[in-house]
Symmetry: C2
Subunit: 261 residues, 2 copies
């Protein structure tokens, strides 16, 4: 391990349970010599990825907030979807959470979320949390739309993983219907309704989903929400498609030629 991966290793020791670290503790945890650990941390602090907290403890730094904002403002999916999510929870007329989630490499991650007023629960899907690939309406709606080749790479070919036959059948059904509805698959008591947001040409494989309490939903409610989700999802897809076709690939501005030490 060396070079870049050392920085990644240091960042990876931070998690929900251990969010403040002293340098010696990091060095111990990673098996690094003290001098290297100190240097690595100093570089990360200089770059804004870590921040000195107190008593020699370090926390994640402001660069993550800053880059997250930049991503929020420039990522076409997040940008196009955030407004749609607000509309969806408004028009749902019931306590619920709306989510926009994407395939990122081999995991699904929620990239935007919005809760209706007075919603007493929360989905375990939430912005920034990696989620299982094969469970929940949100993920399945995405998988169902993938080209066979890509799907095989993610869940294994039918031959290599025959136990995925059930899942494959389910995905085919979802593709036919155009949406996916599940109940208590991720959070017990909560139902999920998801519709795909797919823009192949822009490399976007995503879904829009609505999470509500299962017991609150009668059949007509459910149908109404399915319609809401499906139409909102296709609205987003349309906008993305349109934006993509009218966007140049290369940076529109000559770009700031920053000097680097």
């Amino acid at each position: 391990m060396a070079g870049f991966s050392r920085f990644l290793a240091v960042l990876r020791v931070f998690n929900e349970a251990a969010s403040a670290w002293s340098v010696p503790d990091m060095a111990d945890a990673l098996g690094l010599p003290a001098s290297t650990a100190y240097r690595t941390v100093r570089d990360l602090v200089d770059a804004g990825f870590l921040e000195a907290a107190h008593d020699g403890a370090y926390r994640l730094g402001p660069a993550f907030i800053e880059y997250d904002r930049l991503l929020r403002m420039t990522d076409p999916l997040v940008h196009a979807g955030a407004g749609a999510l607000r509309d969806v929870v408004m028009q749902a007329h019931t306590p619920c959470v709306a989510l926009l989630s994407r395939l990122y490499n081999d995991q699904v991650m929620c990239v935007a979320d919005e809760a209706a007023r007075e919603t007493p629960f929360r989905s375990s899907y939430e912005r920034g949390k990696p989620m299982p690939l094969t469970q929940g309406a949100t993920s399945k709606a995405i998988l169902a739309q993938l080209p066979t080749r890509q799907l095989n790479r993610l869940i294994g070919t039918p031959k290599a993983a025959p136990d995925n036959e059930v899942l494959r059948r389910e995905l085919a059904e979802i593709r036919r219907r155009g949406y996916c509805a599940t109940a208590s698959e991720i959070d017990t008591g909560l139902a999920g309704i998801a519709a795909p947001v797919i823009v192949r040409e822009a490399g976007i494989h995503a879904s829009l989903s609505l999470v509500a309490e299962d017991t609150n939903l009668d059949e007509s409610q459910r149908r109404r929400l399915v319609l809401l989700v499906v139409s909102a999802a296709s609205l987003i897809s349309e906008e993305l498609r349109h934006r993509h076709s009218s966007t140049s690939i290369n940076p529109p501005v000559p770009m700031p030629r920053r000097s680097v030490k």
Copy 2:
């Protein structure tokens, strides 16, 4: 330039105006040989900091969303403040935006924001955007509470920067009052009311502020909001102080010893 700084340089070419880059363009912009640029980008993609978009273009990647969530969940200030912001905009009973902002090195950055329902405007302060150090109620409320030594480092000593005399006097006044109110200093037509959130022992220098339309505020309104902001800010400070005194500095859990290639 080499090693780590090459990664930083690549990340820095991304901004609001240029959010998708091809590798050759990056190489041009940074004066890097193609092979190095491709390698750097590949490493960043592997780490999740960049993502392949389409047609050889790259965007900021999911790692930023993920680490931002982690920070949101573990940073004591953000965690303690988010709830308070919701309360503040509720109790303001007027269209407004509440902000929680921090000193990070030599800039001020908003780390959490919340708008009241039906708020037709937005503050230029928003989560993740670095803001000027010496303008606006938000920043001044923070500066006013800094130890002399630290303040001198940021705005220069009275001798080195005598033109800051006005600012210094203003900050003294803010310290005496315990809050700062400004109008049209950042956004014309908007007024800001800010109170400090200072927890020295935890290394936190922050402020809570409320932004509303200046014309909407009569004197009694203004007094009410000042009270609201000041009390919310001290509530957050108290919680942070309490939490800090009851928190161990080192990671509570032995930590996951991840293997790195």
